[in-house]
Amino acid sequence: MTLDEVTPDQECEVIDVITEDVIGQRLLDMGFIPGVRVRAVRNAPLVDPVEFLLKGYHISLRHSEAKKIEVKLL
């Protein structure tokens, strides 16, 4: 599954970032690397974007970007 399918309060582990473009680079820079645990915190009032928690900091992503991260639920 991909990160956009994770709902608030679910926790998952990153398997891979499946794109090589700017988004991919940015996601890697921000710490979305294999093995990292990510928790979905909340949706924006209009559902998109979504706030995630990883390694003690909070990052918000659009669904279209979260789709580029392959994860497995914990």
């Binding site: 090589e20 680079q25 921000m30 294999p34 990292v36 009032p45 209009l46 390694k55 900091y57």
Partner: protein, 835 residues
């Protein structure tokens, strides 16, 4: 650029929210200099301090998470490190975000510059239960590690000392991390290959360049192409190795590099960082559960935006009523220094100088608004609420090629009724997404700035009086509907190639801003703006003056006007007669003096609110010139407590009143004639064949064109053109109705819509120039609204005529049409491209 031997340049790098600016302020105090990096709008701050008698110059680089070549900030930071060769780099780290901070440090370290690691916000980290073994960290990294609490000034001296010491270690071997057994051999052979190329080895740290090439970094490839003699072979080598690697490991080197950086960081903090307890952002989470909530979130957002709008625009304008007299006073000083007014014609040097001064003080008048707005934006940025705003609103605005952050500038610019595009454009500065930022700036002219309002009110008052409320709502909301559609259209066309940033955005913990941080930022930005704008405004307003007032009248016409003026003066003197004792006081040059006195008195009286104010003005003018005072008081004045009725002064008053009226008429007529004959005036006539389809005759064209100099004057310009003959007491509304008897509400609708699309005023254009760093975009922002306005007006006027619609029906029809356009624009989906 090489630094002087007695000066040490220090670059400050760090991730956003690491408190880098605080450290910069701590080091330099007030000795700062702020400018823009050439060609871009990113601010460049530098300052200096002395340590052991040596001058040290810290430069504050933009905050970045990484050093790729994808964003402007990252490019600037890394170009500075590469080309300006600072002696030391201070990497400012958020001590409670150590792992992510190290990710950036590793990249900086590869550039081979001596480094000082600065663990900032140690107090916050400690509060969160983090214990950092700085000695151990220093040992592992091989650089000095200094802990600070920037906002309390703790660790300042140690940091300064460490900077100085590190600058002496010129031959220090920079540490670098290992990218693993699979990649290291490739990097080593590539580095060796690059070292044989003198064009590259003299310019770049080779380990860094090798890593960047394997990361498929465009700028690094460009560097190779530019400076290497065998660029093709090198790039082919990189390509081949990359392809091999991918085939062998099923992963790109780029990803392996990023992962290695993170895992190295993790390894380091495992031994240097002790987490006493698992940290949770309790307070921030509590605030966010309200601020980002589906129901309370939008309410809080609306309240915040309303407060900002109210404080900056509404209250800011109130403050300008206090600061304006200062500016007006400085104008009067300039006016005094210039050659005096003529009876009908003023000396050229006087009129152009005052024109330029007027343009300049019109801009300076915005300063109170700037100060408030910049302070508020700094507060929004520092607290972390800015990120939440974008988070909440992104979904709506994204459909139109805008960003969640677009809403604040739009509100300030006049999303509903009454804003100002100058601070609106300025508020775009905080936006990181280049494409959305450009789109937001470009739709700013379509917002309803305060200067457009009197015009709407006038037109609605004449032609839509029965539907006043609906018409006002129409004009206030139609602009938003059109602006959003235009944003999308621009996005699909001219802005297609602009870089869009991924939304990926940190939601930092809430943070109390410091007074000093907010104040220094708002003063800096205001100063930067004022400094830049003054010179440009002077140049541009001089050009506009030329377009509106040259070539001027023919000698013949000029003489006719002067003769008429002399005639009027002759009549005046005849009327008061030789025997009048006041006649001698107002002959020759004194007549001009009296004119000025008369005008000042009238102006002062008009501004006076109360009876006491009137009396104070009288007192002031009496002292200024007791004789003139008798005249302007129509001969009714007190002397030694006795009321005097001075018949002769009254005669002069009556005669002068007549003369003044003639003079004003002559001045207005010559002004109008000059404008009609000017470049802009001729343009107004020239385009009549086109604009008639929009319902504009040449008179309206000229009024619209000359309003370009100052939209506030559009009503005044119309007033000038539709001037009343010989002092009839008719309102402008009545005069327009009378002179343009054929006008229908359809005409009015077309012209109102044109006004709504009116090109931005000169200060706004200057601001656009400043924020986009491009003349091309400034010109685009000037001309596209004109084209758009003409198209819309023609559509409404000609279309309405063909269909036989009334003005009100056309209004409704156009509204529906615009809504359809808006919805279809919102539905167009385009995969965002990032490169």
């Amino acid at each position: 650029m090489s630094s002087k031997p007695d000066k040490i340049v220090v670059a400050l790098v760090g991730q956003p929210n690491s408190g880098k600016s605080t450290i910069f302020n701590m080091l330099t105090g007030a000795r700062q200099h702020i400018a823009n990096y050439p060609g871009v709008t990113v601010e460049k701050k530098s300052g200096f301090f002395h340590q052991d008698g040596i001058c040290i110059e810290p430069v504050d680089l933009p905050g970045t998470y990484s050093l790729t070549s994808y964003t402007e900030e990252e490019r600037i930071a890394r170009d500075f490190l590469l080309t300006e060769s600072p002696s030391v780099v201070v990497d400012v780290m958020d001590a409670s975000n150590l792992e992510r901070s190290l990710y950036l440090l590793f990249q900086v370290a590869e550039m081979g510059i001596p480094i000082v690691v600065n663990l900032n916000m140690m107090d916050v980290a400690e509060k969160r239960g983090y214990k950092i073994n700085t000695e151990r960290l220093s040992h592992q990294l091989g650089v000095s590690v200094i802990s600070t609490v920037g906002n309390k000034g703790r660790g300042k001296d140690k940091l300064k000392q460490a900077i100085l010491e590190s600058s002496k270690k010129v031959d220090a071997v920079p540490f670098h991390i290992s990218y693993g057994d699979a990649l290291e051999p490739i990097l080593n052979s590539l580095e060796k290959r690059l070292s044989e190329d003198s064009g590259l080895s003299q310019r770049y740290p080779l380990r860094w360049l090798a890593v960047k090439l394997m990361e498929n970094d465009e700028e690094a490839q460009r560097a190779v192409r530019r400076y290497s003699n065998e660029n093709d072979q090198i790039l082919a080598f990189v390509e081949e190795k990359t392809a091999d690697f991918i085939q062998k490991h099923k992963k790109s080197p780029k990803k392996v590099i990023a992962v290695s950086r993170h895992s190295n960081a993790q390894k380091i903090i495992e031994t240097s960082l002790l987490r006493e307890k698992e940290f949770t952002r309790t307070l921030t989470d509590k605030i966010d559960s309200a601020v980002c909530n589906r129901f309370s979130g939008p309410v809080i957002l609306a309240a915040t935006i309303y407060t900002m709008y109210n404080l900056a625009i509404v209250q800011g304008y109130k403050i300008t009523t206090y600061t304006w007299p200062l500016l007006a006073w400085s104008r009067d000083i300039v006016a005094l220094l210039l050659p005096p007014e003529g009876f009908v014609f003023d000396p050229f040097i006087r009129s152009i100088s005052l024109w330029v001064v007027d343009g300049t003080i019109a801009v300076l008048n915005y300063i109170p608004i700037f100060l408030i707005l910049f302070a508020l934006i700094a507060i929004l940025e520092d607290t972390g609420y800015m990120a939440r705003m974008a988070f909440i609103l992104d979904r709506i605005f994204r459909h139109f090629g805008l960003h969640g952050q677009s809403v604040l500038p739009m509100i300030i610019g006049g999303l509903y009724v009454g804003g100002c595009a100058v601070p609106g454009v300025m508020a775009c500065r905080a936006m990181k997404d280049e494409k959305a930022k450009m789109a937001t700036i470009m739709i700013m002219p379509l917002m309803n700035c305060l200067a457009k309002i009197p015009f709407y009110v006038l037109m609605i008052g004449i032609f839509f009086a029965a539907y006043r409320g609906i018409a006002m709502f129409f004009i206030a909301t139609i602009t938003l509907i059109i602006a959003l559609s235009i944003a999308k259209i621009l996005n699909l066309t001219v802005l297609k190639k602009k870089l869009s940033a991924p939304f990926v955005m940190e939601m930092p913990p809430y943070h109390m801003p410091t007074v000093r941080g907010v104040l220094s930022r708002c003063l800096e930005r205001t100063w930067l703006f004022v400094k830049k704008i003054i010179t440009i405004v002077i140049a541009v307003s001089a050009v506009v003056y030329a377009l509106l007032y040259l070539p001027g009248l023919s000698e013949e016409r000029k003489i006719q006007f002067i003769t008429q003026g002399n005639q009027a003066q002759q009549n005046f003197f005849n009327k008061i007669g030789r025997d009048n004792p006041y006649a001698g006081l107002i002959t020759g040059d004194n007549l001009n003096k009296f004119s000025a006195y008369w005008n000042d008195y009238r102006k002062a009286k008009m501004g006076a609110g109360s009876q006491e104010a009137m009396e104070a003005i009288d007192q002031k003018f009496r002292t200024k010139d007791p004789e003139f005072f008798k005249i302007v008081k129509r001969g009714k004045y007190e002397t030694k407590g006795r009321l005097i009725r001075d018949k002769q002064a009254k005669d002069v008053y009556n005669a002068y009143k007549e003369l003044d009226k003639t003079r004003n008429r002559l001045r207005r007529e010559q002004n109008e004639e000059i404008i009609i004959a000017s470049f802009m005036g001729r343009t107004g006539r020239f385009i009549e064949p086109l604009t008639q389809w929009a319902g504009f005759n040449w008179r309206i064209n000229i009024a619209l064109i000359s309003a370009f100099a100052a939209k506030e004057n559009s009503v005044a310009t119309l007033g000038g053109i539709y001037q009343s003959s010989s002092g009839e007491q008719k309102t402008l509304e009545e005069r327009i109705k009378e002179k343009e008897g054929g006008w229908t509400p359809l005409h009015a609708l077309a012209i109102m819509l044109f006004m709504a699309m009116y090109p931005p005023c000169i200060p706004t254009l200057m601001m656009i120039h400043l924020e986009t760093a491009s003349t091309k975009w400034m010109l685009f922002a000037t001309f596209y609204p004109i084209v758009l306005g003409i198209i819309i007006s023609i559509l409404v006027f000609t279309g309405g005529n063909l269909l036989g619609l009334s003005g009100f029906q056309a209004m409704i029809a156009f509204y529906i049409l615009a809504l359809i356009l808006l919805i279809s624009m919102g539905l167009i989906r385009r995969e965002t491209e990032f490169t």
